[in-house]
Amino acid sequence: MPRQGFTRRTSLQMLPEEQICALHEATLKVLAETGIRFEESWALKFLAQQGCAVDEAAGRVRFPRQLVEGCLAQAPKEFTLTAPNPANDLLLGGDRLYYSHASGMQTIDIDTLEPRRPSRGDYIDCVRVLQALPHLDHLGCYPYFGFDDMPDVLAIPAGVALHMQYSDKHQMTACSNDAELFTFQMAQTLGHEIVGTIGSSPPLTWSSGAVTSARRIVEAGYALTTVDGAMMGGTGPATVPGSVIVSTAEHLAMVVLVQCLHPGHRMLIGHFSAPLNMRTGSPAFGQIGASLSNVLFNQLWRYYGLPLSNGSPGYVIAKGMEFQAGYEKGIAAALSALSGANSMLLHLGVSSELSAHPVQAILDDDIAGMVGRFVAGEEMREDTLAVELIQAVGPIPGHYLSRPHTRKWWRKEQFIGATADALTYPEWLAGGKKTALDHARAKLADILAAPEQRFTTPAQDEDLERILAEARDYFARRHGG
């Protein structure tokens, strides 16, 4: 049985179906006429063999409609990802919703909001919290882009090793800079399944590294996540539909490459777009434009039917764990969930991609639960309609509190967060006026006070260390150090 996650029973559609078809047609036009740049010669040759028009000198590939639609039809609409613990397997696709986490370059001091490089201990603590949170369904890339004096180039394999040691949830890993040579070796040695993630280089480009990683992922037999990243007004059009066309064209080009390499290969389509902040030049995460993009993208990709993920709900421009972070994440998560995301990065991120913190993840877990409960909607059944009960209780002095129906249903119908203060006002005063942040800090302390769980054997730890040492040598040789 896979993890339950949440099953969406209610959904949000931005456009009528004929307009979604128009968006699809516009994307096909871009793919056929403008094309996509592939910065890898084998991919150019391979795609030419599949029927694409290829300009090798410009690295430009133009895709015929039939090929694109044929490859889309081949890609699985639903698939399972196995986790080290079978109870944490994921069934991606359809109406299922799972949560994962964002990441940050550094951690942050909760009191001063000063960022700092995390220690190995901070990294492990963060993974332990992600393991403990009930709505965090699978681990994503990182959480931190490095720790201690670990060279940044080793951050991905070192992080993957720590995930394997301190969590039995499924993990996805970034494929960049040859990291997958070692992370895949780790997964194969431990018998884990892993998902490889590659990112496009908008507008309309797949870098040599991403294309090479894609082939390695396919050859290894792991599912592949493609992630776009158009910044509206910068690397994508300022308009949401235009930007969605750019992102979709990039994904479809990779769908063609992957499905031609291995028909039926499992793919997860990740949207990670935001408006460009026209004053600072940085992504305006947390703003409503990012959600507009997610909702439109999700509707288009639900039309295609492939499993999809949204990245931007996990990133906010709020600098601390406060009101702004809450509304940015809450609104973004609700809209992504309602519009069809099968997976969503939500937990951890503070201050764009600059920092992450497990206390933020604990707060975010309540958002995940609340949004999940909402999209799960309501079922019209005899026992939810409760007509017989209503008749039995009647008017005052009847009440429902003592009824078995209430005990059976109230916990299912309500969501009770771990961090929201729900005391009466006098109790809150007497209890020291605790905020949600105080409750989240207390929960962090509880999680870390529990006995540390390891999910690898000493022999597996040795294997991981050996592979990390190989990675260290490899990158030292490559960088001449």
């Binding site: 002095p397 509190l401 003592s402 005990r407 916990r411 006098p426 109790e427």
Partner: protein
């Protein structure tokens, strides 16, 4: 049937929120000539366990109220037997409780009544929408040492003052402690109407009751 099995079943009826079972096992206790006070103690112990679970956050309001209803179903039968035998019932004290006239809210009042019972008080719950005269009559009839008045609405809160005034007029004010509570009540309001105590939470009301009665 073993007495211990009947007592255990009585407790279980409360912790499993089953009023029919509570009534059935209370009837069985009477039929088998068990000491009704011992049987009552089994119910009280069970509701105390539920109250403790509620206080520490393991159990919730529906559990507390359902357990209280199960206990009441058993208690009614056992108290009739106690009265029939003319046995004196030990308790921490006799309490009369109710929601004042014009107010039909009873959740908070039920919580306080349940937790007072769980603590060992003998509680007479008059219900909701109770006129001041009925409170005074009940205090006299049950020889209560504590009167607990609930009002959720600011519009019905003045009824609490009316009850206290009527107690004074009847010459009973010194005999009975009066505590007030409910969503519309504040400490300053409680002081202004001459109540002996105010407590915003149900578990706190039990502590207050014990404090006022020097238990």
């Amino acid at each position: 049937m073993e007495a211990s099995e009947i007592l255990h079943s009585l407790s279980r009826a409360v912790t499993e929120y089953d009023p029919e079972a509570a009534a059935r096992w209370a009837g069985q206790a009477v039929e088998q000539n068990l000491d009704p006070l011992v049987a009552l103690a089994a119910l009280t112990d069970a509701i105390r366990a539920v109250g403790d679970g509620f206080a520490c956050g393991e159990l919730w309001l529906p559990d507390l109220i359902a357990a209280a209803e199960a206990m009441s179903a058993g208690t009614a039968i056992l108290e009739a037997e106690i009265a029939r035998r003319g046995v004196r019932q030990e308790s921490l004290g006799i309490v009369v409780i109710g929601t004042v006239f014009g107010d039909i809210h009873d959740i908070g009042k039920n919580m306080v009544a349940t937790l007072l019972r769980a603590a060992g008080f003998s509680v007479h719950d008059l219900g909701i929408n109770i006129r001041a005269e009925a409170f005074v009559d009940a205090v006299i009839r049950h020889d209560a040492r504590l009167l607990a008045l609930s009002a959720l609405l600011t519009t019905t809160a003045p009824e609490q003052e009316k009850v206290i005034d009527l107690l004074k007029a009847a010459g009973l004010r010194e005999r009975v402690k009066v505590i007030v509570g409910g969503g519309g009540i504040t400490r300053s309001f409680a002081e202004s109407i001459g109540a002996d105590g105010y407590e915003p939470t149900a578990p706190g009301a039990v502590k207050l009751a014990k404090h006022l009665l020097a238990i």
